[in-house]
Symmetry: C2
Subunit: 901 residues, 2 copies
């Protein structure tokens, strides 16, 4: 942490050597550095760093995050010294530039931009051209000789200031502009002639008066003070709060405000502006990429309202600037040891860098860059592991359209965020939230998105826009949260009012199903099957480095030899959960029903004997596939009625056509084993004790299979796991039965067997009594799905579709607790259990085999509380390996939510 | 605790003044006292006390519980000094009596009886007439001139010693005796002539050789050592362990052994034996009662094999002994300040007291005795409260046959244990357990019961025997565990082999239903309705004293004015839980369905308006009934499908006759709201947030009712309770909605409202986060039923009938956790929650409104962890009041079970 912010600021280096006014709340760029992100925000710290490096940065200063915190704490009143300190800093800028703030003859114009510690794209607001009013516009015109330019700058100020500082609704400003644009037959104000700009300025002035009851403040000082306070306010705006909640960023940080001398990309055809990356943020390829626009300001690039040129065309227009820019790139990568992105402006042929940061990138690019930086000798393998997050790996493994599927794209847009998705078309963010809350998969289709649409993007499976590039709002947000997006699909005509999306002759209505592939950019009408992609070659190397870092063992949940092999190929070190109920389905179902419904002991014994043969075969195959590695077999867990037909089916059949004798028998069984709440009924060890023949045949088949494998020269490593324990004595009874069968198998084999016994910790009571339970076992595995259900009192099947979407949207829960472990509730039970297990017997192996075992955040938690292994589905094994390494590096671990409410 | 056992025993007072052999493991009766129960056991301590009081006790000594513990610790090997110490004590007895142990001319005969700290009737074993062998039998005959008497004593020794010490199965000894008894046409050996006794002795001798491979040990010393060790062994016998588990007695106490000089109630017609109580243990009336038998030993009375005389007849036979006995009674009551029972023997006209103890009694007697002892100035009111347990009060309130029911008793037996029950007839203890495990209510019908039947009595709803009196095994055990029993119903012929019970012409088969009333002794074929009895007059006084003692407030669970009034009459101090779902049933159901299935807002608003009118009316009535006391209203808790028809009904109807449009609408709703596990689904606050109109109308109706009541001069004390919270933020959202409605009601009323808000702690997560939740509320109420379901993962409806009976029978759980709170699991969550609530806000009122609120053991727990109140059903309010007082007196509090496994 940067503690230097607590000591007095150093005396500034001014050009004339005179002592500056002492400042508490404001820092000139030349006073800071990249290590002062806490105080200056990310943008301010990087601007300071670039000044320190001697890069061409327009001069400016940063109002610190401390000022924001002080203002917030005082209910929006800025510290009393702030205004004077800002005036002192402006005086410095006037001295450096030779301009005057509010001076009609040589007006100093400013950009005011927010900049928090963590980048929050689209969240915070920017005001450009601050300092203009009718007099300084005239001065700017006089100085540049370009009335159009001066008016264009002024209309931009009115637009931005009106929206951002004065809170005029965007629609009102648009409504003021639209008749003008139509009359002049242009789509964008930058196409207006001088008189059109004059009309637009008058229209904006009128709209501001109409909306706020007051005219636009022409006093530059009033503009500046208001803009700074507006940035502070926007820290607590809904959009920013939503983003921080999504990203787990503390509300206490506050934002800084960067005040910088304006340079003008719209000063003429010898000017322009752009956004660039030192490496390709989509693929990771080591070559600069970006977009630029001639005769434009930065907002024109980001907004996606005008179509940009690729950076590779820059040299043709500004050859000297291109050389200078490449040198800037080289120095930034040298300094930051990573991909950087910059915003640049060329004013009358002079290059300025307006901001830089370590740039966002796709998961694919993150992987490639991390591995290549190791190859370039820039970073160590462990740092490469640290730079490629499990979330990025997940995105990389996101499904794509099945190459074998036959489909015809109706159009193609930019591949803006990888992954594929299908869903019902919704045309507004609110509709997305509403339909998703009903459990429907939706795709949000918009002309373009803005921060107002964030809740809709969060609720949708993916986003499709007709406008905007790879740095448009939709693209940036979708990549950030790992959802597929196709952007700038220009053939699309999206009409939210009519409820239609038109592509040539094709009309899609809200409610129709479409599919998008954010990796290819394809858009398809109807639903396309999706498949998991092949891993890129860099992944094997990076995961190998991860394996060297991690301490957690990664097992897999696999029930069949095929699943097991798929998991071993992905690096699993054994089976942490084999669900034997899968051995009871399919063509085994009649056998199992026979066991359940047997009328007498002989009948039942016959059914059991048949089942034994099948199961032994299954276990031999599984033990062969996972030879030499642990195979954890969970004895039957589900309630018996899952193997019987549904009562209502049989009742309807009985009422209509009558039942056969066998069906009557099934109905009796289904009625006998029907339960009100089967999740909390006769299942797991309870069923094992009530119907002991079931566990007995499972254990016998498993241990006989192990004997057979040993005889064949194999190395079976059997672990027998008892599910749904809630009392230590029921585990003791079940284990006694296991040992009794084992003794018989050993007697028949003529030699002792090596096997381990364990239990699942799935009920809150088992977690609380885990210390006592641990006395009986070799291993314990947390079933965090059931544990979550019981701790919340949530039936996943019942609440996940209907209740959790509105709960997440309203912030009642920070995450789906079935996806990411609930640290405050379930997590406390897990922590308590682990402490008690370790106190009883430090050698008991502790694992998790719920779906949380493959969730990175949850893996961080399990690592932190001292688990020995995690077990997850075969597909998620790579993610778990990487997450385990990140956990070891201290990079994971979810924040508490409720405990701090 | 008696720490005197740790210091060396005092030097004994011997008759001749010579120093006795120093002893560690043995105490003469004259060395002890009533305060040494830990060391001497209850029986030994009381024998010592009676010797100290100068009462006529046959001399003897006690082998201490320390000796038992040392022997158990050494795997059954007695301490090496024990044999010498016993010989030294026997020498003392020989000196006192002038007899010789094993002396054929004047044989000293002994009784050997167990005696643990806590009375364990029927659990431990007794050997009489120890010291007899063929030579001493001859000596006894010579000394008494009564060969029959000597032989009768010897056959008793062979029988008891064979069973208890040598472990010969009772059936084998019975089988040896039966042909003899039949040949002599007697039912009992005491009816045999001399030659019959000689044959019986030979038969027993042969049976002992057949069963053990060795003859009966004729060496008296061998007999004595073996008998002492057998008593020690029996401490860990199954029956004793089962009883201790049932009563919560520690296995570590061990038992003492009392060795006492025999006196003979069977010495002739001038002899006899009996059992007596200083007050009537059935009614509590202050007059001595008991049973005696002429020419018999004590076991004949207890066994119930011969019909006894009432104690009131004693004076006619032994007038001097009666006077002496009454004086013994007076002195015992003076010493013990309570009802005492004694076992006495008259040998040739001389009275001996063989043992005494503070006697067991019916609940009714306990109440009356406690209150009358206060009136007699013997004890203080608080001690009277302490002496009448909540369990006894429960028994007192046990149901009886409905006086309005019309039934014809098929016979009548002794009213052996109060309460009435109906159930299926089972004729063996094993059958009782098996059928009960299937969820069937059973009545155990036996000729008589023995300790081998204990598991059957525990499993049955009640017991019916054809033989035995009020102190028979069945009667004592049934009273102890609070189950109804009718004993000695002599008209019954019970034939377990044939599976029938015959009463004259009536033949009842196993599986038929009968009813018994243990308060009247009635036996009825078929099922008779049962009702709660009227409270005896002493109860009001005792509960008044309890109210002065207790700190816990006792509220009630009541949904209607009728329930509320019933509870207030029983002493409730307000409503702790009003379940509003009851307002939604009956003729309201169509309104509620209308709300659920409303097709548009207008339709729904109309339904809501109708519901409002009904609910406001309900609340006005309830607030009027409970004016001036808290009324805690829980907003709707159950899932919506509970108000809709069952899906399968509608599907069957649809398939057979077709559905009306309205029914189709109902089916759609039932399908939409159907859940897999409704207990964990959309209910409670979740439903309240998804369908906000429901809570809104409830709160509006309730607060408008409060305004109406206030305007009418009432004092409504409204508490609004939110159910099924699992996240603090969902409570916050629900409370915000409550406050919004309240603000509207206040605005309409024109004055502020006084009401409290609270939440239920029902999910494990709410318990863990209770500290955060407490910040938002005035009160919190634990719903321990749901909390138990979720902590165990038990659906009460699904597991209580099918799973818990075998779990309890196998000792997997110590008690039904839905009846008595599970201290180890659920209890830890409750304790943790209370600590966190108190840390947040010590003023938050903490309550429980699950059924545990009326369970005495659970009330003890809630008191210990610091609850402010309990809420229970109206019927259980008196029990809760008494339990709260007992808790305050430190008399309650369940032991841990699993944590010590």
């Amino acid at each position: 942490m940067d503690t230097s912010t607590l000591v007095p600021a150093p005396v500034a280096r001014t050009n004339d050597g005179s002592p500056p006014t002492p400042r508490r709340w404001v820092r000139l760029f030349e006073e800071g550095g990249a290590d002062q992100r806490d105080l200056l925000g990310g943008k301010g710290a990087n601007l300071a760093e670039m000044v320190r490096m001697g890069l061409p940065v327009p001069p400016g200063f940063t109002v610190t995050t401390e000022a924001c915190r002080a203002t917030t704490a005082a209910d929006g009143t800025a510290p009393s010294e702030l205004a004077d300190e800002v005036r002192s800093a402006i005086a410095h800028l006037e001295q450096v530039t030779g301009l005057g703030f509010g001076d009609p003859t040589a007006p100093l114009l400013l950009s005011v931009r927010s900049g928090a510690k963590f980048s929050m794209p689209g969240m915070m607001d920017t005001v450009l051209d601050l300092g203009l009013n009718p007099e300084t516009v005239a001065g700017l015109e006089a100085k540049t000789g370009d009335r159009w330019f001066a008016l264009d700058a002024y209309r931009r100020l009115l637009d931005l200031f009106g929206r951002v500082v004065l809170g005029v609704p965007e629609e009102q400003l648009s409504a003021a502009a639209t008749p003008l644009l139509e009359r002049h037959a242009v789509t964008d104000p930058s196409g207006l002639p001088v008189e059109g700009l004059e009309e637009l300025i008058a229209a904006y002035d009128a709209a501001i008066v109409a909306a706020t009851g007051r005219p636009f403040p022409t006093d530059p000082w009033e503009q500046l003070d208001a803009a700074i306070l507006a940035v502070f306010r926007s820290w607590n705006g809904n959009r920013a709060v939503t983003y921080r909640r999504m990203e787990g960023i503390s509300d206490d940080l506050g934002t800084a405000v960067n005040v910088q001398v304006m340079v003008f990309g719209n000063a003429g055809d010898d000017s322009g502006t752009g956004v660039a990356f030192t490496r390709d943020p989509a693929t990771g390829e080591a070559r600069p990429v970006g977009d630029f626009l001639l005769h434009a300001q930065g907002e024109d690039v980001v907004a996606g309202t005008r179509t940009t040129e690729p950076l590779s065309h820059l040299g043709a227009v500004f050859p000297e600037c291109e050389v200078e820019l490449l040198e800037v790139f080289r120095r930034l990568e040298e300094r930051y040891r990573d991909l950087c992105d910059i915003e640049f402006t060329i004013e009358h042929g002079t290059l300025y860098v307006l901001q830089t940061r370590v740039g966002k990138r796709t998961a694919l690019a993150a992987l490639r860059i991390a591995v290549e930086l190791v190859d370039e000798g820039v970073i160590e393998p462990a740092e490469a592991v640290a730079r490629f997050t499990p979330d990025q790996l997940e995105m990389l493994l996101h499904p794509r359209f099945d190459p074998a599927a036959s489909y015809e794209p109706v159009t193609r847009g930019l591949a803006a965020s990888p992954g594929a998705a299908a869903g019902e078309v919704v045309l507004t963010a609110d509709a997305a939230v509403a339909r998703a809350a009903e459990g429907v998969d939706v795709l949000l289709v918009r002309p373009q998105t803005s921060p107002e649409d964030l809740h809709g993007i969060l609720a949708a499976r993916g986003v499709l826009t007709s406008r905007g590039g790879l740095v448009s709002h939709a693209a940036v947000v979708a990549r950030g949260i790992g959802k597929p997006a196709v952007c700038g699909a220009a053939d699309l005509v999206v009409d939210p009012d009519a409820g239609t999306v038109t592509i040539g002759d094709v009309v899609i209505h809200a409610g129709d199903t479409i599919s998008i592939d954010g990796t290819s950019g394809d858009v398809v009408v109807g639903e396309v099957a999706v498949v998991a992609p092949a891993a890129p070659p860099e992944l094997v190397r990076l995961l190998g480095w991860a394996d060297e870092v991690r301490e957690l063992r990664v097992l897999t949940n696999a029930d069949t030899p095929e699943d097991a092999r798929a998991a071993l190929e992905r690096g699993a070190e054994g089976i942490g959960l084999c669900r034997t109920e899968h051995q009871f389905l399919g063509d085994r179902l009649p056998l199992v029903r026979h066991v359940i419904l047997a009328t007498d002991d002989a009948d039942r014994d016959e059914a059991i004997a048949d089942l034994y043969v099948q199961q032994r075969h299954d276990f031999v195959e599984l033990l062969e596939a996972v030879d030499g590695l642990p195979v954890t077999v969970r004895l039957l867990d589900p309630p018996l009625h899952e193997f019987l037909p549904r009562v209502e089916q049989l009742l309807v059949a009985d009422a209509t056509r009558g039942l056969s004798e066998e069906e009557h028998h099934l109905l009796d069984g289904a009625l006998a084993w029907r339960e009100d709440d089967p999740m909390l009924g006769i299942r797991g060890v309870r069923l094992g004790l009530l119907r002991p023949e079931i566990y007995a045949v499972q254990v016998r088949a498993l241990l006989d299979a192990a004997v057979e494998r040993s005889a064949a020269g194999g190395d079976p490593q059997v672990r027998i796991m008892i599910p749904l324990v809630s009392a230590p004595a029921e585990l003791a009874a079940a284990l006694a039965a296991v040992r009794a069968v084992a003794a018989e198998v050993e007697a028949a084999a003529g030699h002792p067997l090596s096997y381990e016994v364990g239990a699942m910790i799935e009920t809150p009571r088992a977690a609380l009594l885990a210390g006592v339970i641990a006395e009986q076992v070799d291993f314990l595995s947390f079933g965090t799905n059931d544990l979550t259900q019981m701790t919340f009192g949530f039936s996943r099947d019942d609440v996940e579709a209907r209740l959790l979407p509105p709960y997440l949207a309203q912030g009642i829960l920070p995450a789906d607790p079935f996806e990411t472990i609930d640290v405050d509730g379930v997590g406390e039970l897990v922590r308590t259990a682990v402490e008690r297990i370790r106190a009883t017997d430090p050698t008991v192996d502790i694992s998790v085999c719920g779906e949380h075992g493959g969730d990175p955040t949850s893996v961080g938690f399990f690592s932190a509380v001292g688990f020995d292994d995690v077990s997850c589905s075969p597909f998620r094994v790579p993610v778990a390996r990487l997450a385990a390494a990140h956990a070891e590096l201290g990079l994971l671990g979810p924040a508490s939510h409720d405990a701090s409410v």
